[in-house]
Each structure stands twice: as C-alpha cells, then as structure tokens.
Amino acid sequence: MTKTNTCATPDKKTNEEAPCILACPIRQDARDYVQLIARGRFQEAFRLVRERNPLPSACGRICTHPCETKCRRNSTEAPIAIAWLKRFLGDNFSEETRKIIKEKYPERIAVIGTGPAGLAAANDLALLGYSCTIFESNPTPGGMLRMGVPTYRLPRTAIDNDVEYIKKLGVEIKYNTTFGVDITFDSLKKDGFAAVFIGVGLPESRTLNVEGVNLDGVLKGISFLNEVNATGSARIGRNVLVIGGGAVAMDCARTALRLKPDKVSVACLESRKEMPTTDFEIEETVHEGVVLYNSVGPKRILGKNGRVSGLETLRVKYVFDEQKRFSPAFYEGSESVIEADTIILAIGQASNLSFLKGQEGIQVTRGGTIIVNPDTFSTSVHGIYAGGDVVLGRGTMTESMAQGKKTAIAIHNTLRNTALKDEKWAEKPAVPDIVPSRLSLIKKESKQEMPTMPLDERLKTFDEVELGFPLNIAVKEAQRCMNCGAGALVDDNLCVGCLTCVRICPFEVPKIKKGDTTAYIDGDCQSCGLCIVECPAKAISFKTPLEDRGKDALEAVFQEKFVQGVKPFIINFYCQYSAYREEKEGAADDLLFFHFRRIGVLGLGKVDPSLYLRAFELGAHGVLITACKDDTCHFCTEKEWVERRAQYTTQLLNGLGMDTRRFQTHFVSSQNGKEILEIAFRMVEELRNRV
C-alpha cells in the first residue's frame, strides 16, 4: 500500500548511528558483531569483525576501546565489553580466506613496517586487488605489538594468527630488511613499486635529560620489553623503578614484576587521574603489587660505583599549563629520593627518520613525525605515503590501523583515478544518551567479569592474565547490548497514526508529535519488537538486517529433506535471552532433535502469530513456544504478551478446527534444559497418534 502525501519532519533522525561504532577509529561494526554473538551467530560475527579489522585477536586484547567509553549502556550500569567480545571471536573462530579479491591490478605497493598501520594498509590494499610487500627490520611481525606489548597481555600466537590471515590474502613479508639500509626509496622505485607506505612507528625510547642517565642499570622501556618478550635476556636488579605514567610504563612495571625482584615501583609526573592510560591498566598494575609514586618529577639519577642507586625527585606543582600544554613545574626544595638499583625509562617514544636521507622533499615536524595530507596520507612527495605513530606521534593501535586503511583507499584512488569512498567513515549523528525518564524502564543487566589468572600464579609466568570469555559468558555479555540505532523504524508511507505503538511500547519510545501524522521511534528503542507485531498497518520494521523475527529460520527448517518424514515434527520457538545452550545434551537431546527444530529469537515478543500459522502451513505437526519466566525477562514485559498472543493464536487455530494440543505455550526458565525436555517429550507423546 502506498500513501502519497506524507512528508517526514526533519527532526525525525533515522540515520543516527550507535556511538560505539562512531567512536572507533576504524569504524568497527561493534554493535552488529555484538548482536550476532547475542544470537549465537559466531562465525558471521567473526567475519564481520575481520572485514574491517585486520588484527582482531590483537585488537580484542589491547585496544583502548573508545567504543566502550561511548557505549550507551554506561548510563544504565556499565558498558558492553565490546573488545573482549572481539577477542572471544578471534580466539575461537577463524575463517578461510574468502575469494573476494575481484580484480588484480598490475601495480605493486611497498609497505614499510609490520606494525598495525603497515599491516592494515597491506591488508586493505590486498583486498582492493594490489600485490603488496611489507619490509620489516625485525625477524618477526607486529612492530610495537611484538616489541612493546608484554606477552601476558598479548600472547604472540594472537599476533601470529592475525598476520597469518593477512599473508593468506597474498601479502608478502620480507623480514630482517631495514629501510634506509637494506632498501631505499630508490631501490624500491627501481624494483617497480608504484607507491610506498611508511609505517615505521616510533622505535626509539626517549631519554631523560638529567644527570646520571648513563649509569649502569638505566634501561630504556621498549628495549627492556623487547628483550624480555623476544629474547628473555633482560637483566634487572632487586629494586626496580619505572619512570613514566603511560601504558608502556605499566607494561614495564608488570613485566619487571614477573622477573621476581624484591620491589617494583612507578614514578610519574601525573597525578593518578592525569595518567595517560586506562584506569583498568593502572588498577591491574597496582593489584599485582607495583608501588605508584604520583606527581613526582625526576631531578637526577643517583649512582654508586657507576651503578644506579636511586632517583632524586621533585614534587610536581602542575603538569599542564593553562593552555593545557605539557609544561611541568615543580616545588623548589621538595627533593626526596626513591631508592632503586634499576631504572627503566618509559617516558615516550621517538622516531628514527634516518631513512629519509636524500629525500629532503618529505616534510617532517620538529617533533620528528612525518607530515601528511590528512585525507590522503600522502607525504609531500608524490607516491610516498605515511601513517601510524610516525605520523601521529603517539597514537593508539586503532588510530594507526585507521590511517593504514585510509591510505589504502587513497593509494587506490590515485592509481586508478577513482573516488572510492568507505561509507563507514561518513559523518553521522550519534544516537543520543537515553532519555532520563526511560532509564528506570530499562532492565539493568550487570556486566560479565573477565576470568583472570589468580594473582599468585600470574607473577610466576608471562602467560596471559585475562583468560577470555567462555561461550556462555560471551553470549550473556553480548545480550546486554541495546542494539542502538538499529531498532524499530516507522515507514511514514504506511503508518496510519493509530497510536498502538505509542501505547504499548514498554519503554515509552514511539511518539506522534504535534503536527506529525505518523509515529516516530527514536534511538532509545530496545528492539523488543512488540510494536512491530502489533502495528495494524505493518508500518514498523527493524533497521537491522540481523533481525527477521524468526522468519528465515523457519523457512530454512523446511528446506531440510529429513523433516518431511518425521512424525510428529514440531517447531520450538524459544527466547534466546539467557537461554543459549550448546545444542545437544546427550542422548535425550538426540531424540528431541529428531522431532524438534528450535528457532531462537531475542525475545518472543517480536514473533508474529501469523508465523506460527506459517509453521503449520509449511508442514509442522506442532508448534511449541517455550518462553522465559517473567523474572528473567530482558524486556520485563514479554511474558504477558506471549500469553496473550498464545491465546489469540489458539483462537485462530480453533477457527480452523485444529486440535489445540498442536499449539502449546510453556513458561519455563530456559536454562532449565531438563524441564524443556520433559515438556517436549510430553508433546511428542500427545501428538504421536494424532498426526
């Protein structure tokens, strides 16, 4: 049906995007992979992640997850563990390389560095159809991920898995090849590379300009980490002091702890609140036993017989000036001493641009980073691109990946003279925070805890501390997600303004504003689907393509040849909230599997009664609905609706003269598999001689 004279009012924002997606530098489809996990569709979830993210396993562990900072669940209790869920996928699923590379172009691209920026650029260029070679000065891939991130946070197998996949796309990696030494711009040109992407990162540790830095026992942060991680050769004393307040400092401290000295401490300029790393990292560091000295600055390193004996410090007045520039000031006469026999400097990284010799055309900043066009990542020399930390100065892993990805498209556009755009980066308004009056209507769902290694075991090894979500926990965590920005949408051409949705939504979301003729559902929609089923004009649908309210699954069941001979054959619609079971629980389930096919939906409130009729039409002998008991309902009100619709459907079937034993609704705790089995067996017996 079409209606002609409607016009959407401009304040109906139907293009709002979930803030978790917008917050991510690579615009990872956070909501959608979380929603797929919530539905038990893990393989698809992994594929979705991998499509945008060349390093899912690494990212799921060490990303600073700005998505979680912006997650709208922050206002109900706590954000969704978006990163950990990605890790869950990366750890448990993999995928054969898909043959999606449509066109092979003749141009070859050189990438310098196998850090996040270089890997991302090569990955995306390969997907676009270019052959890529990455040159890496180290014997192993990963760049700072491998050199700088401790194994207890990022096991090397995680990096290797991610890189393996990139190699399968056809990307070649040449190790032990240092740019500026073994290869140069000229040699690359001679070898026929059409473009060069520089993603060399910041390999040098900054050093302090104070007395005593050359004493024995003063180590550089990244070199220390690299030695421990790669070769295990680092030597420290009994009393270690790390200088610095960022993530690398925390990594150094926690790594040093695992070498079992008597004491490890961290001294930094910043107050605890100002420290440039996540709260979680600081908490873990302190939890493991590191002593934190905040708001102290190094005056000089003290020594005895050529070896470090401590750090003389000054108390910090402020770290940032009024313009918020880094400009620390100290209290005079506030000297004190922190004793230490080893000092690790983790105060930042610097570039090494020696490879630019002879390439004076490439502009660099005073801070030693390469200047690029912010849209194309082209340096001031045609054909040479740069991204990642060597451009950012100090960026995150995802920011680096984003630059690599954007450069890949820019290189393609230059070489092909096209204007390809990645729509995911388009500007969109974010779904605003939940309207306060609705907060009390949304059920609080507490965040799942990450299982971790017990403290006493942790410090004995370099094994990973966070153990990863098991499947049931991952699903539970994912099911907390509110599907922001992908909920119900009213088609203005179909809505007749009947107000049904306005009246029945448990979260008071749909509204017909004065002057409007049709309903509008804003970003607070919780995707329960009640209004979609009840709208008499069928004007409402889900924006997300992930939710078809059971339809496709039902049709798919009857594509199976097997089911046609089974008597009785029963379709079981069940609620997936807190009901994810790994299918098959012993022999009992085998029999059940013979007679039943289960169709899970996130909330039975979104299933049309006409779908139950359809099941019979397709050939089912019975339809069994197993719904959650109300105390566990994610949407709080579904039980009542399932009950009413069951009655309604029964009436419809009565009208057809059908034996109503063929349509049954039971309220059970879905986690109680035994109870469901009993119900199922009873139903099979009841129908056995009646069909």
């Binding site: 049906m1 007749v496 006409s610 419809l652």
Partner: protein, 225 residues
C-alpha cells in the same frame, strides 16, 4: 472512526468455499486503526485461509493486498491488476469499501470479511465503544457532549430511565448509563437545570429512517462531460 469486527472464520470459509484463487484486501484507514482490516489482518487472514485449505486438502491460492481507502474509486483502481485473475475478493474494509469494490469490479465476486459495526473509537487500547449513531441531527450541545442516541440502549431523549443503577445500564452491567454520565457532566458544568427541561420528540427523519442519505457540496461538484 468506523469500527468493524472480524467475521468468524468459519463464516468466511463458507463464503469462499469453491474458489481456487482469492485475494484478501485490506483498507488503510478506519479498519486498520481498529485492528480488523489493516495489513496485519490481511496477513493473518491469508495465513488462516491457506492453512485451512491445507488441512482440508483443498487447492487455494491466496493473494494479499491493501489500499489506502477502499471507499475511493482512484485508490481501488490500483487494485485491478492484483485481482484480475482472482475468482473472489475478501474485502476487510467496512461495508462502504466492500460496495465500492463490488461496483467497480462487477465481474468479480466480492465478500465482506468484517461486520461493520459502529462509529466509535478506542476508549482504551484495544477496547472500542460506539460513540455516534449518525442521527443526522446532533444534540451533543445540550447533553454535555455525551450522545444518548448511540450510548443509551433505548436512545432516550429524556433520561435516565428507571433502569439506571449505580451508574450502570439495566441492559448490561458492563455498559455505563450515559444519562447518569450526562447528569454528572452537567453538574460539573453547573448546568443541571438543563436536566429539567423536557426535550420534545426527536426528528428521526434525518437519520436511519431516511435511507439512503446523500450529501452534496455544490461548489465541488464537477460537470459531467
């Protein structure tokens, strides 16, 4: 709005028996709002018809469509293509729509899928009450805005009658006595004196007594070619 209630399914089945290809046709206006004639209802009814045919081993093809208003020639014109190969149409519009269809498509059998019942509205979500009888001579201005023609079982002009008990009508305990309500309303408006006036017999010739009624808006009437 016009309120219609679904016909019992066995009656619908009976009407359509013998046809092999039918179309269930909804209407996007009043009957959508009262949940008996909209797109959703079309889907459900069509599913019921198909299932019932299957259960009885009958051949039946069921098409589904809907139009903005079945009581407009232009809108139902669009339906022509959809129903041209159907043996019958089950219209779930009000009686007006069914008749428009019958008039427009004289060669196709048109059946009503609903019982057109009254003019009223959803007093609560899902509960519809009659509110107007279309008497053609509205008296709401003297009755506090409550209609005794449609809401009093006896359509009394000088109520309440002796059957009014605790605000309920003697005809059904479920029905509020509208004259009781009129009394309360006039009381609120300090117009109780109106209750004492005897209303002379109402002229019913403007109403149902005078079928079929017709209305002409002169200046809008287009000259026939």
């Amino acid at each position: 709005m016009i309120v219609a209630s679904s016909k019992p399914f066995p009656e619908i089945k009976q009407m359509l028996s013998g046809f092999k290809k039918v179309c269930v046709l909804g209407c996007g206006s009043c009957v959508t709002m009262c949940h008996t004639g909209g797109e959703k209802q079309v889907t459900e009814l069509a599913a019921q018809l198909r299932l019932s045919a299957k259960l009885e081993g009958r051949q039946l093809e069921v098409k589904e469509d809907s139009t903005l208003r079945q009581c407009e020639w232009e809108f139902i014109d669009d339906i022509k293509e959809v129903i041209k190969d159907c043996d019958a149409v089950l219209s779930i519009a009000c009686g007006v729509g069914v008749q428009y269809m019958a008039e427009k498509f004289p060669r196709i059998r048109i059946f009503p899928g609903v019982n057109t019942t009254f003019m009223g509205g959803p007093v609560e979500q899902g509960i519809f009450w009659e509110r107007c009888a279309g008497c053609g001579n509205c008296i709401l201005g003297t009755t506090g805005g409550l209609c005794p023609v449609s809401r009093c079982a006896k359509s009394l002009m000088n109520g309440p009658c002796g059957g009014s008990q605790n605000g309920k009508c003697e005809v059904s305990q479920e029905t509020p006595c509208v004259w009781h309500q009129i009394y309360d309303q006039l009381d609120t408006q300090q117009l109780l004196a109106t209750m004492e006036r005897i209303v002379p017999p109402k002229d019913w010739t403007t109403g149902m007594e005078n079928h079929p009624r017709k209305m002409v808006i002169e200046h809008l009437v287009m000259k026939k070619q």
